[in-house]
Subunit: 139 residues, 2 copies
Amino acid sequence: MIERKEHLFIVFENLLSIKNQCSSEILCECGSSDITMKQVRYLQVIDEHGEITFSKLAEVTRNSKPTISEMINKFIRMEYVYKKRSPDDGRIYYICLTEKGQNVCRCEQIALLKLTQRMVLSLNEAEVSTLIGILGKVR
Amino acid sequence: MIERKEHLFIVFENLLSIKNQCSSEILCECGSSDITMKQVRYLQVIDEHGEITFSKLAEVTRNSKPTISEMINKFIRMEYVYKKRSPDDGRIYYICLTEKGQNVCRCEQIALLKLTQRMVLSLNEAEVSTLIGILGKVR
DNA sequence: GGTTCATTAGTTAGTCATTACCTAATTATA
DNA sequence: TATAATTAGGTAATGACTAACTAATGAACC
């Protein structure tokens, strides 16, 4: 009983370790191993909106516009985002993620995808189905 | 086929989400929701050594002693560590983790433990055994 | 055993670079 | 005149350093 709990912990620890290693690799490949969590979160907010204006991003993140302006300039230098002038209103720019920016802010999902792909390779179809069935019950 | 891969991804995404929520809760309970990753890593180094001297910690982390001195003073203020005078050598202090410090630097493991405990509650013994069997094959 | 001196452990002062944020003033556009 | 974004100048916190310092230890010598 106790043995089973510990065992479950160990197999999940192993899986998580594989996932974390994938995440690290993704960030390293992007040359972003030292990006801060706040930076990742801001990129995630941009990702959620597809493309977003400076004013909107300031509003959504509760920062001032100058703060956003500086941050976006920095992200441009880091090649995470680019800005696109609005065709309709010369005042407005849209902030868009580059491929690098997308990879960085989605690196946890990409890592998880790689983990599940790796699982599908290690296991047969019946095992995968069984896993889905059992794990789907966890709340 | 494609459906199965996506499904596996989704069930694992759900599990990971539960785990991440546990982590956040642990850090919030400790009043440490804004601790930095570097700080967590330093606490993990201290954890790995049980108790460690300033000089040793400087050596292991490749920082200067004044840097370690300041960091540890800050961790003391944050109640993550305390220092213990060596009984043998008046120059030497040992840096030890408080319970809070231990919780903070182990929060990922604690969260994973809570997740696996939750799984054990949701599933019967046969299912748990099956999981262990299948997931143990993943490399 | 006491003294002296070199060494070690850790601290303090001052400093620098970076990140994350601000307001006020400005420029460009509507 | 109002809005969108930028620039200038600023603060606070984090993460790191060197130089100089204090306190304690240990070896050598008397």
